[in-house]
Structures are given as C-alpha cells and as structure tokens.
Amino acid sequence: MEKVKTLDDLKKLKEQLKSTIELREKSNNPESHVQVKVAMATCGIASGAREIMSFFMDELRKRNIDAIVSQTGCMGYCYAEPTIELTIPGHEPVVYGNVTKAKADEIIEKHIKNGILVDGIIPVTYQNINKK
C-alpha cells in the first residue's frame, strides 16, 4: 500500500474510492436523486432489460448525472418490455415502455436533463410499483 503523505493525497484517495460506496450513499436518501427502475423479470430480461440497465448506469455516470439505477420486478407491461420507471425528485413517477438504447438516450437528454416528457409513456394506473 502506498503511504498517504499529505492531506491532499488523502483527499485524492477519497475521490478515487468514493465510487465504491456511492450506491450506498445515494440509497441513504433516494428521494433526492433521479431514480431509474428497470423491470427485470423474465419477460424484461428476455427483451434486453439487462443491457438497458447497464446503458443507463454507464451513460448517466458518463454524463455526470447523479442517479440511482435499480431493478425491480415485473411491472405488468410484458407487451412493452423493456420498461423503466423514472422518478425525478419532486415529481410523480413515469413509466416508459419498449425502451431501446436510442430511446434511453432520448430519455436522458430530454426528460432527465430538461424535464421534457418523451414519447413512449405508458398510462400510469398506479402510484408507485413499490408502494409498500
């Protein structure tokens, strides 16, 4: 292990290590972060939900957007998989269906960054998938 010689060294080290527990930090107050929940049941996984989840994780990080990307169970829109539920702090959650990488890109650029809804919203008939 290399020695930590100055306070600046320590701060640099902290910056490097921060990402290892970032997920836990964010989970501490999920309400204040953009949350993307990807439906990852059998139907979702079969239609590529895993790639979409990775895409969101990578791209949000690259574009410096603080967000929590998590997986959730089947939302019941099997015809429209992959589906995601997007929550912007202070707003009601919105569900998007048939999310491709291109769609995901559009969602990040328009909805997450600028608050503009994009096509593909599934009428929300419920409040929140994890209401418990």
């Binding site: 010689k5 290590l17 989970s27 089947c74």
Partner: protein, 597 residues
Amino acid sequence: MMKYKMHVLVCGGTGCKSSDSDMIAHNLRTAIDQKGLTEEVQVVMSGCFGFCEKGPIVKILPDNTFYVHVTPSDTTEIVEEHLVKGRRVERLLYKDPQRDEIISDSKHMGFYKKQVRIALRNCGFIDPESINEAIARDAYQALGKVLKEMTPQQVAEEIKKSGLRGRGGAGFPTGLKWEIASKSPGPEKYVVCNADEGDPGAFMDRSILEGDPHSVLEAMAICGYCIGASNGLIYIRAEYPLAIERLKIAINQAREYGLLGKNIFGTDFSFDIELKYGAGAFVCGEETALIHSMEGQRGEPTFKPPFPAVAGYKMKPTNVNNVETYANIPVIIMNGAEWFASYGTEKSKGTKVFALAGKINNVGLIEVPMGTKLKDVIYDIGGGIKGNKKFKAVQIGGPSGGFLTEKHLETEIDYESLTAAGSMMGSGGMIVMDDSDCMVAMAKFYLDFTVEESCGKCSPCRIGNKRLNEILEKIAQGKGTIEDLELLRNLGNVIKDTSLCMLGGSSPNPVLSTLDHFYDEYLAHVKDHKCPAGQCKALMQYIILPENCVGCTACARNCPVNAITGERKKPHVIDQAICIKCGACVEKCKFNAVVVQ
C-alpha cells in the same frame, strides 16, 4: 474499478454472526457466482444495523430492502428472486408489529425514523475491515485537518464549543478534559480509550468498534495531537474477540497508509496505538482502576485527585475517554462545533447511543438526539411493550442507574433531566419492564451484580451493599418489616456518600429509586406479604380452586415433587409444605383450576 449495480450488506456484528451471518454471506456469494452476477453485485459484511431483535439482517441496496431473520438456506431464494428477477422475498420482509403491515424499505421503519446516527454513522454502512471504505466516508480527513490547519489549543476549543460530554457515564465536558491534559506538563503523555463496557447487556461500544474502528483510532490521534501525546492505548475486555480482531486489522491498515505511526501527513506528529486487554471486571471500567489494570497492578480504584489528566498511566498525564465519545470527534472536526451543537438540548449536545432491552418489541442498538422524549424511544423506536402488556418502568444507566416510571415518560433524555428524575445517563443501558416485573426483585437483581463486582477495597461498598442485598432478600422472602424500608434508605444513602469510587457511589440507586417510585409495592411485600407482580416465589401460593377442579389428575401426574393429592374426579389439593412453586400444574390444568395467589 468494478461498478456494482447492487450492494448486499450482511450484518457482521457479534449478534448476527452468532446466528450464522458468516454462512449467509458465504452462501450469497456462492449463489451470486452461480448466476454469473459477481461483477454486478457486491456482498459486504458490515457492522451492526442495530435492529438486533430481528437479526440476522440482510440489506439490499439501492432499493433499501431490509430482510430480517435470514437463515443460510434463504440465500438461494434471495439471489434468484431479488437479485435476478427483481422481486422481493415477501416472507423475509419486516412486519410492523403495531400496524401489522409489511415494510420493505428500512427508511420507513419506525425503528429508524426517529434515530439520528452520528456516532453510528458508519455502522452497518461500511465494511469495517476495509480502510478504503472508511476513507471513502472521510476517515482521517479530520486528523489531516487538525494537523494542517489547527493548533492543539484550537482543537480543544472546537471540542469545547461543540458541547460534547463524556459518553462513558460521568458526562464530563470532553473539550475541557483535553485542555486540562494538554496543559499538564510533561514530554510523555497518553491517550486512553475506555472500551471496558462492563454494564450487563450493554453493547454500544462493542458495536462501534466492530462496525467503525477507524473513527475511534482517528479520534485518539486527534486527541494525541491536542494534548501532546504520541501513545494511544485501548483498554478492551478480552470477551470482545470480534472487536479486538477488527481493531487489529484497522490499526495495521492505518499503519500501512502511514495514518498511524511516525510523521503522520508529513508533519512531525507521530502517534501509534496499542491494545491492552481486560479480564472483564466491571470496576476496571472506572478510570483509575483501568489505569492500574493496564499497569499490571490490581484493578482497584484509587482516590481522585490526582485525576488521570495530571497523573494517570505510569503517573504521566493521561486522557481517558469512552469509545462513543471518541467516535463523535472526527465528525465534529469535519462538520464544525455548531453543526454538532445544533442537535440536543441546552446542556447536552449531540446524540446518545442506547442499548434497548427488556420487555420491548424492538430490542437493539439505537442512537437518538439528546432531548428525545422517553416515550418516543419506548413506543416509536422500541415499538412498545412486548405482548401488549402495560409499561411499568424503565431502568437507565447500567447496573447503578435508577428506575423511571410512567410519569417520567415525557422526560427528555439529557444528562440533567435524567439525574433530576432520579436516574442517570450512565453509559447507555435502557431496560424496559412491564407489570409482571417485581420492583423488589429487579432492585435485587442489579444489587446482586454490584455486590459481585465490588472490588472490596472500601467498606461502605463491600459491606454495605451486601447488607442492602440481605435486607432485600428478607423482603422478597416475606420476612421484611417497615423498619427495613427505612434502613434500606438510610444505608443506601450512606453507601452513596462514603464509597471510594462511583461503583459504590451509585450502586444503591436501583434500590433508592424503586423505594421512591414503587413504595406501595415494597409495602405490599412487608405488610401484606404479597408480591403484586407475582414474582417473589416465597410470597406466592399455588392453590387449586375446588369449584373449577374436575379431578382429572393432570396436575398431580406432572408435579415433580408429588405435592398434589386427591382422588380421581374429586377436587385436588396442593400441600404448601412440599410445593416448590415450579408452576407445572398451572400449565397442565385445562380447567383454570390452579391459580397463583
């Protein structure tokens, strides 16, 4: 660096470990590996989550799912359902006992809602065996800050301003203590951490050391800089093997990074820490006894002054603080004294960790801001009394704390209010009792402990407590008199006033406070020879109600000492001279014919 999508935190505190949490973590890792998710899911053994009643606990992030009473065989389901398919395993979720409602997200649990975690900030959050995770949570930055930006005097000032007081019992202002030690002349000084934690049932300090050892190491180094010491000693009881193990790992990791050792952060400040083991005597938690024990002498208290800050370990100036006290230091330096002082009451700042136990639904480790009402702790965080019984009393402050009653439920927890109500903060034991607990028996229970643990050096404590205990025994046997109650009170006060150390100085508190608050219950024992709670065996009688007894012989067949006689289909009788009051007959009788009087 790996980017994990999910973190699975498994409680690695002593409690959960003893119910196989190691195996749970192992099985989770295996199952995750089988599903090919090793690169996506990280399994972390963390410190204690505090909700020990429900352990072993597994928490899944980012969705904050809180699984309780997990067993090693539940792991496949957790992995296959939750981690792979994103479906929560309902049967393992926490169920709110009051509202009978499943709560999956720990943020919404009553147990956590009113807590503020400062001393426990990293417990149950980081892997205590990884200095990197601690550093990611700012560990050692406060040390860097004081070395670079503050003079020792400024450090003492900052701690003074924060209002932090000792969490080990006496509540002495920490900054002032550091200032006194820093002004004590001498090239050789010591920083001591008191991790003796002798109170029966207490595990606040153990959990901090097991869950976040670096916070204590860092604070000791800060103290070393402030008072001018380069040696730190942690006095820890040998019965804490896991805490010892984690401390050793932490000390080694800190040394490897150069955060302990010579010329820390390239300055001329050097500091290192050594462990000293105690054999688990309660009195060795008293600071002068602790110092003698570390010196290899008998663990007996000596008269103060001189205080350790002037003449302590090896007669050198020594600062002794409690584990929890230290755990608060780094955040105070990082966030500032004002931030810390914004929590709490006028004279008691910050938070206090309590080990909540007894007849309460949510047994566990909690941290609340000073000033939180007792009733909020007992009903909101503690989830109320077990089995919907009636609250009777709460005993706070360890074996020599006092009992508080229903009329104290509005009391705000701080040093002054608890003392004014007849109890004390102590180190943070909080034991709740319901109406089936006899106060005479409880007072005796604590006194048994102090009699056992008295070092015997001074007579008020050695002889006086023994006499107190004998009088209590007499009362429990139904042989007490009104005069005995007066004697208890007088003797108790004499012991308090004349003992050498605070063991004797506080040991009569349980007796005195129950006399104050439950005098009627004592009277019932001495005048009516009755124990209203039905606990004192000598004062109870098992009798069979002839009108209910059908003569089924179930009781007689199960009595271990053949105390019950009677013909078949005729009412039975218990011979009181033979009965040992085991209660077996009550359980066996299907006709409610056997009753306790």
